[in-house]
Amino acid sequence: MSNAVNPAPKATSPPLRAKPTPKLPSHVSEMKTEENNTGVACNAIEMQDLCSWYGNFQALKSISLNVQKNKVTAFIGPSGCGKSTLLRWVNRMNDTIHTARATGSLHMGTLDVLANTTDVVDLRRNVGIVFQKPNPFPKSIFENVAFGPRLHMKLRRSELIDIVEWSLRKAAVWDEVKDRLHAPALGLSGGQQQRLCIARTIAVGPEILLMDEPCSALDPGSTLAIEELMNELRKQYTIVIVTHNMQQASRCSDETAFFFEGELVEMNKTQSIFTNPNNKRTEDYISGRFG
């Protein structure tokens, strides 16, 4: 019975759902995704010479980096260094800013993200984004989480309820909201709202989660809750987080990329970046000498 209902979405979105085998970088011997946790890289996102402009202002200068699958990658750097811009190209959120444009290549597997022909609706379904300020819709908690699944597929009520519960559990907010699923989402605290937004994002089944300073509007307790959540979610998702908080980057990321004035200064394992940075500017920044 459920088979009769479910095939539709699969049929409508073949390019990404089919999960093309990621191109392996040259320095990596042939490895499968399952062996990822042995420490060998497998790229979810590959960027080559990515440049970006807002009007005449160049926000990104020839960025080349790879984001590994099922890892947490942190983008750090002072305000205006381009890290959020870069993040927003991964799911083409910059399309909403009409002066923004980009050159270079940004690939996810075989998908050319920046190509005009790329279907952004399908792309964003696979690359979820969580914003700096919690932005639940002015609807009930349930409706917020159900919003995405409803857009993309035909679901019976019971199936929808399953997805909503699963997402809220995954986002570690279920216990706090299960008794008031139909209460307005705007009545939740900031931290709960942010976890609701994460639940809403994973409810459409993305493979990559982009987080644009997800904790900067939250108190320390809520921040901790989100960080623990990220630690859980990395098992299943590839996470890219933009953060101003260097402790946060060092606590919860595997890889860290440091940006300065639109350039990628250094990218390495988080531990190496924080204990033994190669670049003087990185060292100055992480030790709090500027930025």
Partner: protein
Amino acid sequence: MSSAVNGNRALQELEQQVQTLLHRDRRNLTMVRLREKGIFVGLIGCGLFSLLITVAIVFVLASETVTFFQFPEVTLSNFFLSTDWTPLLGDTKSFGIWALISGTFLVTAIAMLFALPLGLVTAVYLSEYAPRRVRNTLKPVLEILAGIPTVVYGFFALMTITPFLQWCYSGFNVYNTMSAGIAVGILCFPTVCSLAEDALQAVPTRLRDGAFGLGGTRFDATVRVIIPAALSGIISAFLLAIARAIGETMIVALAAGSRAQVTLNPGEEAQTMTGYMVQIAGGDVSNFGIEYYSMYAVAFTLFAITLSLTIVGNHIRRKYRETYD
């Protein structure tokens, strides 16, 4: 010149200068308090003035309405239950307000049938779809439309819309509610559009981003997030347009005709409440007769209708209002 002097001055000298400035006599606090009190009283006066005018108007309307009901020919049951409005027929005067109310509501309904959907769709286009350049051109054009005197719309209805309607279907009377309703609709359209667009624009960008980020199309974002979030503003726009249509006078006086009758046929003429008041105030009858006072009764009825509309509107707006910090 002074900046050059300042630029060369030693910091110590500047420090001294500023310290003396900072120790100057402060402004007289008694005077300051007095001025604040004066401004406060002035502002209260302005507030009271508007209140006074409102009360005065309501009082005049009410007292003249009472006078009207004291005429022996007038009964409450005739006024509220009859559907015949024949105040100018010598022996068989009848004052059934429903004849006028039905005219008003027919015109308003026709007008809103045009103005509300068209206004909302245009507002959605301008706010969510239109490139910035198109919006910057179209909005002033709409404002010009809103600035045309209503008598011009009235002539437009009578001289252009009515002949067109008659060309389409010969059953249309020279004066008909369809023509007047369309003209009132065109009149209200910029109001709906402009206010609804403001309401849509006021929805925070992060809600749009949220919908786009989940893989929503522009249409998904508009229909499922932005319009619901702007609902209170959109409803306000609608109610303001309805109130305006109900109170609209020149267009209906010119194009809708002057025969008060209960009808749902938009091809026939019908008199509205405002149309009747124009007819009487225009001098068809002698002052201080029963016809003259009937004008006030009609005006009071109109006032009661628009007032209740405002109250309902405020209630709905409060119910659907979303606050974003």
